[in-house]
């Protein structure tokens, strides 16, 4: 079957969890009331609407996350090939991470990771 079996596995996993969710809906008799609809039992109740404008400062964190996310992509082929390529691959990935670590140091030094 080749790659098709992988997709069958993914779909089977999704269907399996969906069955679990819907089975509980059929078995249990759901009741709705005001207390149940609240976010959580502890903490202060929310004031006003929950649709609020978020602080723009989050965006910088998202951008830095994006860069490390793309960096993470290179780890997949590395992890598969490292055994065959040998210790050279280890040196390569260490240099790769070192250069990116400089970027993290720079962001830390400029205070980009601090909440102001």
């Amino acid at each position: 079957m080749g790659p098709a079996s992988m997709i069958v596995l993914i779909i089977a996993a999704v269907v399996f969890s969906l069955i679990a969710i819907f089975a509980s809906k059929f078995v249990l008799k759901a009741t709705r009331n005001k207390q149940k609809g609240e976010p959580y039992e502890c903490g202060v109740p929310t004031q006003g609407k929950t649709w609020v404008r978020f602080n723009v400062g989050y965006y910088l964190f998202a951008l830095i996350f994006l860069i490390f996310d793309v960096e993470l992509i290179f780890l997949y082929p590395w992890a598969v090939a490292v055994k065959q390529v040998g210790w050279i691959a280890l040196v390569e990935i260490i240099i790769f991470f070192f250069i990116l670590f400089i970027g993290l140091l720079y962001a830390h030094k400029k205070g980009a990771l601090k909440w102001t």
Binding site: G2, A4, V8, I67, I73, V85, A89
Partner: protein, 166 residues
């Protein structure tokens, strides 16, 4: 109809339906969530074509990180169906006419052109497999790989410089 064909049609229908839902849903957050489903369906297609690396990139970078950025933009601008002004009827009609004529032109152009149809060979090549890519990347293309880290570094420095004024 074997299992590969069934999967192909399932993924295609899923991609098209969720792409339509991206356009039609009123809530922008729902649009982003439908777009994630589109990316999952397209990743499924990539896996069927033996392009594992592209599938992983599509899932982790696009469905993961880029969609986080999309959600952030929606939350920063605080767009929701209540506060956004709905377009009036004439504007909607004009949009429909313009989009419909574009579709008509595209279909007519495709009909007249002589496209060389070629059957897609699913799961034939092996160059897209992660193992082969890793072997090539870490033996033949070491220098471009290391230079790409400099590219990431410059992207991060650029984001920090623009994001932090002081």
């Amino acid at each position: 109809m074997n299992i590969t064909e069934i999967l192909f049609w399932f993924l295609t229908a899923l991609a098209i339906l969720s792409a339509l839902m991206v356009v039609f849903s009123r809530n922008p957050v729902h649009s982003v969530l439908w777009l994630i489903l589109v990316f999952f369906a397209i990743s499924g297609h990539y896996i069927m074509l033996n392009a594992q690396f592209l599938a992983i990139v599509n899932l982790i970078v696009y469905a993961g990180a880029i969609m986080v950025l999309f959600l952030f933009v929606i939350m920063l601008m605080n767009m929701n169906s209540d506060s956004e002004p709905q377009k009036n009827k004439w504007l909607k009609m004009a949009g429909t006419v313009a989009g419909g004529s574009l579709l008509l032109i595209l279909v007519a152009a495709l009909k007249n052109s002589e496209v060389q149809y070629q059957k897609v060979e699913g799961a034939q090549g092996t160059i897209g497999l992660i193992h082969n890519l890793g072997k090539t990347l870490f033996t033949d293309y070491v220098v471009p790989f290391e230079i790409s880290s400099v590219l990431f570094l410059s992207a991060m420095v650029g984001a920090v410089v623009i994001g932090k004024k002081d």
